[in-house]
Amino acid sequence: MAGPMKMRATLGSGYTDVRVLMTHPMTTAQSNQPLHFIQNITVKQNGKAVVEAQISQAISRNPVFTFRIKGGAKGDKIEVSWLDNKGETSSIEAAVA
């Protein structure tokens, strides 16, 4: 089942690195289980959407993504949320360290 998320947002050289893990079965049409996968992901920096992703069942189970945002500063608020094909949703928030 869909479970907790984990996220780490750190400052790189000139960019903010956002690494996020989502707990999700991501089952495919090829498996014998009901089709259940994340479809939309939104990454926000201080409330502003920076990445909008649409994904398919071809993303691995318990998806891990890394995104990069130009610049940024310690304490910036990063928020990642997802929505799956069954309407389930989850989100996580963290400050850039």
Partner: protein
């Protein structure tokens, strides 16, 4: 009277809900495409030009097709979107990322691969489409998961 009111309230509710539905858009046609060509058309990139500024970092051989790490970055100025297409998967389009408000055209993701295949990245910059491919060999397919 009551019926009319109910209808009006219902319509107002639909109008209010619509913008939210639009925010969570999911490109059903592109993701439902069964060939890479149809997937490309579905994302509005029917005939992308090859580019060396679009780079795919991935292992040459993936032992486990269920988790294949892929990194895509674009050095093409003004890149606003990157898509990943796994040509021999049953549904080739794996993901599309739209970048705005300072997000860099970079993404690292894990994908499932059914068999050895070319992996195609597509970048959209200033309305033009660019592409790059890399073959990844898969020892054990990973679409049954």
């Amino acid at each position: 009277m009551n019926n009319l009111r109910r209808k009006l309230v219902g319509m107002a509710a639909i109008l209010l809900l619509k913008p939210f539905a639009a925010l969570a858009a999911w490109n059903k046609d592109a993701f439902g495409a069964k060939t890479p060509q149809d997937a490309l058309k579905g994302i509005g990139a029917g005939n992308p030009a090859p580019s060396k500024d679009l780079v795919i970092e991935a292992p040459q051989i993936a032992e486990n097709g269920a988790v294949v790490p892929i990194e895509v970055s674009s050095a093409i100025a003004g890149t606003t979107a990157i898509a990943v297409i796994i040509e021999k998967n049953p549904f080739p389009l794996a993901a599309q990322f739209d970048f705005q408000n300072g997000a860099l055209p970079y993404v690292k993701l894990n994908v499932k691969m059914n068999e050895t295949s070319d992996v195609r990245a597509v970048a959209i910059a200033a309305g033009r489409q660019y592409t790059a491919t890399k073959e990844i060999k898969v020892t054990i397919g990973g679409c049954g998961g």
